[in-house]
C-alpha cells in the first residue's frame, strides 16, 4: 500500500498535470484545426504527436487511464503516419485518434476522466 506522503506527492503532481493539461488542450485543439484545414498539416500533426507523447507518459500514473490510452494511440498512430513503415494508417485514422485524444483531455479537465 502507498504511504500517505506518497499519496500527497502524487496529488500535487496530479494538480500540476491538470494545470498543464489545460494549456496542452488548447494547443491540441488549435493543431487539430490546422490539420483539418490542410495548412501545414504535417507539422501540425507532428506537434500534436509530441504533446500526446508527453500526456501518454504520465496520465495513467496520475489517475487518468483512459486519457493515457487515447494519448498513446494518437502518439503511435502519428508516428506510423509520419514514418515510412507499412502498413500506414489513413489520414482519417490519424484525425480520429487526435479527436479522441482531445475529447479525453476535455473529459479529464471537466472531472469525467
Amino acid at each position: 500500500m502507498a504511504k500517505p506522503d506518497f499519496e500527497g506527492a502524487l496529488a500535487k503532481i496530479r494538480t500540476r498535470f491538470l494545470d498543464r493539461l489545460r494549456e496542452q488542450s488548447a494547443e491540441l485543439r488549435q493543431l487539430l484545426e490546422q490539420a483539418e484545414s490542410g495548412a501545414g498539416r504535417r507539422d501540425s500533426i507532428k506537434a500534436f504527436g509530441a504533446i500526446a507523447h508527453k500526456i501518454a507518459g504520465l496520465a495513467k500514473s496520475v489517475g487518468f487511464a483512459e486519457l493515457g490510452q487515447a494519448a498513446l494511440e494518437a502518439d503511435q498512430t502519428i508516428i506510423r503516419w509520419l514514418g515510412d513503415e507499412e502498413p500506414q494508417p489513413s489520414f482519417s485514422d490519424v484525425l480520429w485518434t487526435m479527436k479522441n485524444c482531445l475529447a479525453r483531455c476535455e473529459d479529464a479537465l471537466s472531472g469525467n476522466g
Partner: protein
C-alpha cells in the same frame, strides 16, 4: 544506491523521484537533458577521482528528449570506463522494435515502458543491479582462475562453459540482457524474432592452451567476426559459454546474408582461426523462429538454436574423423537450469 534519472519532463522526474522513494530508493538525482546529465556525471566524477567506481550506481533514461536523445546518452555513458557495467534502464513511452533494439544495442540493461508502475520499477532496478553484480562476479572469477590447471577439471569446465560477457564489440550483449530484450519485445507483442547460433570450432583447444585473458581476447575476436558477418541484418549477439554464440534477428527486417556459413568460415580462415584438420573455424547453425509469449519460450528458442549448431558441429566432426555421428535425440544444453 545512487540513481541518476534523466527526462525532459519535470513532472515525470518528480513522479520518478516519489515512486523510487516508495520503492526504497531515496538517493536520486535528476537531470532534464542528456547534456545536463553528462555535465553532472563529469562534475561528480571529478570530485571523486580516487574512486574506480562512478558516482552513480544506476541510470534511468528517457529516450525522446530534445538535442541528444536517451539512446545516444546511453552510448556516451557506456564509453566511460566507470560505467561500462552500471545498470542503465530506459524509461520511455516508445515501444516499437526499432527503439527497443537500438537501446539494447547501445548498452541498455533493461527497458521499461511509461506509464510505469512503481512496484515494477523498483523490482526491475533491483534485477538490473543483480545482473550487473553477477556479471562482475563472473568476470572476476573467470580471471582469477588458476592458470596452473592443465586439464578440464570441474572448476575449469565451469569456466569454459560460463556465459562470460564479451565486451567492446558493438551489438554484443550479456546473455541476460539478450533475454531482457526478447522479453521486452514479447511484452509489446513483437514476436518476429529468430535465433541463430554459432560455434567457435576450436574453443576448447584454445581454452586449454591459452590463459584466461588470452582466451577472452580470442572470444572478442570471434564475436567481432560474427558481428561483421551479419552485414546489413539487425541483430544482438551473446556469448553462451563453451565457444557458443547466439544472435537474435528481426525476421521482418533485412535478411541474413546468403552463404552466411561460407562468409564466416572465410573470415575465420583469414583471421587464422581455421583448424588444421580442415573444419571451418566458425560453424553457423540454422535460424530458429519460435513465437515468444513467456520467458520459457525465449529459453526454448535460444536452446533450439544452440542445438542446431551443435548438431551441425557433431556431423562435421564425424566427417573429419570418418566415423558415424552420434547425435543424441532432442539435443539441448540446459544453460538456464540454475536461473
Amino acid at each position: 544506491m545512487k540513481i541518476l534519472s534523466v527526462d525532459d519532463d519535470e513532472l515525470i522526474l518528480e513522479l520518478l523521484v516519489e515512486s523510487l522513494a516508495q520503492a526504497g530508493f531515496h538517493d536520486v538525482t535528476t537531470a532534464n537533458s542528456a547534456q545536463s546529465a553528462l555535465d553532472l556525471i563529469a562534475a561528480l566524477d571529478a570530485e571523486n577521482m580516487d574512486d574506480e567506481e562512478g558516482s552513480f550506481d544506476c541510470f534511468l533514461l528517457d529516450i525522446e528528449m530534445p538535442g541528444m536523445n536517451g539512446i545516444e546518452l546511453c552510448t556516451e555513458i557506456r564509453k566511460m570506463p566507470a560505467y561500462r557495467r552500471t545498470p542503465i534502464l530506459m524509461v520511455t513511452t516508445l515501444s516499437d522494435r526499432n527503439n527497443i533494439e537500438k537501446a539494447f544495442a547501445a548498452g541498455a540493461t533493461d527497458y521499461i515502458n511509461k506509464p510505469f508502475d512503481q512496484i515494477e520499477l523498483g523490482s526491475r532496478i533491483r534485477l538490473a543491479r543483480m545482473l550487473v553484480n553477477e556479471q562482475r562476479r563472473g568476470l572476476q572469477a573467470y580471471f582469477m582462475a588458476s592458470a596452473l590447471t592443465t586439464g578440464l577439471d570441474d572448476e575449469k569446465t565451469a569456466l569454459f562453459q560460463a556465459p562470460v560477457t564479451v565486451e567492446g564489440v558493438e551489438r554484443v550483449v550479456d546473455l541476460q540482457v539478450l533475454e531482457n530484450f526478447l522479453l521486452q519485445l514479447s511484452r509489446k507483442g513483437l514476436y518476429q524474432s529468430a535465433a541463430i547460433a554459432f560455434k567457435f570450432t576450436e574453443a576448447k583447444e584454445a581454452f586449454l592452451k591459452l590463459g584466461e585473458a588470452e582466451y577472452y581476447e580470442l572470444l572478442e575476436k570471434v564475436a567481432a567476426l560474427i558481428a561483421k558477418g551479419f552485414g546489413k541484418c539487425d541483430f544482438l549477439l551473446s556469448h553462451f559459454g563453451s565457444g557458443l554464440f547466439v544472435g537474435v534477428i528481426d525476421r521482418s527486417g533485412a535478411p541474413l546474408p546468403e552463404n552466411f556459413g561460407d562468409i564466416l568460415a572465410k573470415a575465420a580462415e583469414e583471421a587464422g582461426l581455421k583448424p588444421q584438420d580442415g573444419r571451418p573455424g566458425i560453424i553457423v547453425g540454422d535460424p530458429v523462429e519460435n513465437p515468444i509469449h513467456r520467458r520459457n519460450d525465449i529459453h526454448s528458442m535460444l536452446l533450439d538454436a544452440t542445438a542446431s549448431v551443435t548438431e551441425k558441429t557433431l556431423r562435421i566432426d564425424a566427417k573429419v574423423l570418418k566415423v558415424k555421428p552420434l547425435i543424441p535425440k532432442g539435443l539441448k544444453f540446459n544453460l538456464f537450469s540454475d536461473k
